[in-house]
Amino acid sequence: MKNFIKVVLFVAAFLSLFAFIALQIPQQASLPPSVEKFDPSKIKTKNDLVQIGQKIFYGKGQCALCHSIGHSATARCPNLQGVGGKLTREFIYESVTQPQAYTYMDYTYSPPKFFPARMPVIVKPPIDLNNNELLSVMSFIQSQGGEVTIDPSEIVVSDGGASLGEAGDPASGEKLFQKMACSKCHAPDRFRERLADRDEGMIRQAILDPNAGIRIDPKPVHKGFDRQLTVRDFNDLIAYLGRLKTVESNP
């Protein structure tokens, strides 16, 4: 029994050491991403539609789990590069909503069998795209070597969407500024000085496209936030930065 207790203590000590080491390495939990929101008010041009479609293609739509854009040795479904120039809008619509509608026969069997399409119906669960999302994905597919025939006016805009240029909420903007870790590099106290000689347009551009040439630094530290911010977030952030600038000039 004495030996057994010694062994138990030995094991407990080793396991504690392992737990201790595990606590010393960088601690990073993997949080689920917030559910993507489709903001129709953002869509002004066909290019906007294509960009959102691309986002859905690689995100909620799960298209990229099987399809590739360009040659890929690991893709399990057809390469979609250039298909926009070959397929009509109607054909694309039918392919994603009724994947079994036009399928090839597998002649390795006698009599030949239908070759079942691996494509799920993307307007049904679990993917379950809504009409706006479906149109965006179709636009993205059309943009692969073809002309986008889907017009932004086809997107149904709900009343709740914010639009660019609306007055934002500085308090929410401040929270966002902290949440997105902007303050890590742009400490508010010193950031005021840099904001002093910039008008709102320049600030907007710097957030959305840091490479636009208004910066002195050759390499911007971050990419544009155009894909990360909603319109409302963007307006809030602008409102907060505007207030920050004003506080500087009126201490």
Binding site: N3, L15, F18, A19, I25, S30, P32, V121, P126
Partner: protein, 592 residues
């Protein structure tokens, strides 16, 4: 008596088969249409439902690994006993099987509790799994009902079938076949969650089920778990022998448990050698299935997990080699003769471990990072990439195998004329293999990742496997007719060697918990990757510190469970000193 039991089992099996054959796929559709419970999740206060499932699933899986691994090498031991007509192997196999029988009921009990937990806490997920896999549930039950009587016959018929060894061995084979099938059925469910395939409404019912079962990571996980179970079983049997050795009252007992510990450790190590290759195949399949999942594992929030894995495997390699070296010193009394080699091998192992443990990016303050010119250290950063890690893993495997060969050859003088040529040939093979592994490792820095992964790493693995497969039979042939110059003394190992056995078992258990966490966490916020999202409050994956503490807790609970079960199992043996105690005087003369 047996025949009536058999009839009952056969009737039951036929009934289960009947249900399978008459199963009406349409009823699933009906179930979907009528709808089930609207409850998606249930929780328990304080500890949380996910933690309950984590503990139960982990301990069940560890037990399952043990009960599936032990019959494999138990059967091999019994077969060796039959071939060599050496009764000690038969007794050892019986003792292994005794541990298996004791653990079997607990495994089934925990499996049942796990099922209740999953149904209760995750009804949405379990409804989906039932829709997809229901026929496999029946198959699983059927296999259990086939395995259980086979195990009973195998265990209780051991002495009665001493004169019908062929039949007994056949039962052992059946036991393994059923065990393996049980494992791969359960693996289908788990791997489907990680790598589901797209099934469509137009597919036939059975084709859909088969597509879900035969998903991209199914076979890599099957093979990986099969090998890992042998490793787990071997090291746990080794630890059991170690504990019994520490408490042994007589020299006979010490000799027996020393030998059993040696065999357990040997099985664990030999199983462990091909394990990295199976792991490599699995990772490759994961990358091919979904690159993002591969990146999450190797370069994302789970990347530091592989540093923990490196630490554990490093400790395991050191522990296993240390045990070999102690055996060399105490059992063969050849320590002085091999001192130089031992020091060299220890140095190589430690250096390799250092490279393996070097993270790709270092934990550094902003100031430190600026001084280094980034988070990658200018010199050590070179060791943080896969090319370096694959190289040192292969080197560590070669060194461990070399340790074993030294131990194997110690105290023996070859008598065959070609022995010298064979030894030189093996040494040259080792040297060339090490050089080739290193050259490919360095070259790997200068080629695209896909070339390294597809060709260089696989070639490294191939070279090492070739060495293992060539050197083992060659040295075996030399040793077979060798003259023993120094008798192997059993029961003279120092106490610290037995702690090394316990340590190895603990490390292997931790490794299984760690890699199980990696496999589950790689799905991130998905119950079924890309198909069913986790919308519960536990959709996040905890950080490695929390997970590490939990793994330690699970490992401790499992070891306490195992200790209790083995203690209960050993109570019967104490009362029958003449019958079950395997190795007596003859063990002292046993060489390996």
């Amino acid at each position: 008596m047996i025949s009536s039991r058999w009839k009952a089992w056969l009737l039951f099996a036929a009934g289960m088969m009947g249900i399978l054959l008459l199963w009406d796929p349409g009823s699933v559709v009906h179930a979907q249409q009528t709808g089930g419970s609207s409850v998606e999740y249930r929780d328990v206060p304080w500890i949380g439902s996910r933690n309950v499932v984590w503990i139960v699933a982990q301990i069940h899986l560890l037990f399952a690994g043990f009960v599936l691994g032990v019959p494999i090498f138990g059967l091999v031991c019994e077969f060796i006993g039959v071939r060599t007509k050496d009764p000690r192997y038969d007794r050892l196999a019986k003792e292994f099987t005794k541990l298996l029988t004791s653990a079997y009921a607990t495994t089934a009990l925990l499996g049942g509790i796990l099922l209740f937990c999953l149904i209760g806490f995750y009804p949405k997920l379990w409804n989906h799994m039932t829709d997809v896999f229901f026929p496999t549930f029946l198959l699983y039950g059927l296999l259990f009902f086939l395995e259980t009587p086979t195990l009973y016959l195998y265990w209780y018929g051991w002495d009665a079938m001493q004169n019908r060894k062929g039949l007994h061995l056949f039962l052992g084979v059946l036991l393994n076949v059923f065990g393996f099938m049980i494992m791969i059925v359960a693996n289908a469910w788990a791997t489907y969650q990680a790598s589901p395939v797209v099934t469509t409404e137009s597919m036939e019912y059975w084709a859909k089920i088969w597509a879900a079962v035969d998903n991209p990571t199914w076979w890599p996980v099957n093979i990986h778990r099969l090998i890992a179970n042998v490793v787990l079983g071997g090291f746990i049997c080794g630890a059991y022998a170690g504990v019994r050795y520490l408490g042994a009252k007589t020299q006979e007992e010490r000799a027996h448990y020393d030998w059993m510990g040696y065999i357990g450790n040997f099985i664990g190590i030999f199983g462990m050698l091909p394990l990295p290759f199976a792991g490599y195949w699995l990772m490759r399949e994961i990358y091919q299935y979904n690159q993002q999942m591969g990146i999450t594992l190797m370069g994302g929030f789970l990347s530091w997990l592989f540093i923990l894995q490196a630490i554990l495997i490093g400790v395991l390699f050191l522990g296993a080699n240390y045990y070999f070296w102690l055996g060399l010193i105490h059992r063969v009394e050849a320590g002085v003769q091999y001192r130089k080699q031992i020091v060299t091998m220890l140095t190589v192992l430690i250096l390799s471990l250092g490279v393996w443990m070097t993270p790709h990016s270092l934990v550094a303050s902003l100031e430190e990072a600026r001084k280094m010119g980034g988070t990658h250290h200018p010199i050590l950063g070179v060791f943080g990439v896969m090319s370096a890690k694959m190289t040192v893993v292969n080197i560590m495997i070669l060194v461990t195998f070399l340790s074993f060969l030294m131990y194997w050859r110690a105290g023996k003088q070859a008598t065959v004329t070609w022995a010298k040529s064979a030894v030189i040939g093996v040494n040259v093979m080792f040297f060339l293999a090490a050089i080739a592994v290193i050259v490919l490792g360095v070259w790997g820095y200068f080629v695209p990742a896909i070339v390294r992964i597809n060709y260089f790493s696989t070639t490294q693995v191939g070279i090492v496997i070739l060495v293992l497969l060539t050197a083992t039979p060659l040295m075996g042939a030399v040793i077979k007719s060798a003259k023993t110059t120094k008798e192997m003394k059993w029961g003279v190992m120092p106490l610290k060697s037995q702690y090394a056995l316990v340590l190895n078992a603990t490390v292997v258990i931790l490794l299984m918990t760690l890699m199980g966490y990696a496999r589950s966490a790689s799905r991130q916020y998905w119950h079924i990757f890309g198909v069913m999202r986790d919308t519960s409050p536990y959709a996040y994956s905890p950080a490695l510190g929390y997970a590490g503490a939990f793994m330690s807790l699970n490992a401790f609970i499992f070891l306490m469970f195992v200790s209790f079960i083995f203690w209960v199992a050993s109570m019967g043996t104490k009362e029958q000193p003449g019958s079950d105690k395997p190795v007596r005087k003859s063990a002292a003369a046993h060489s390996h």
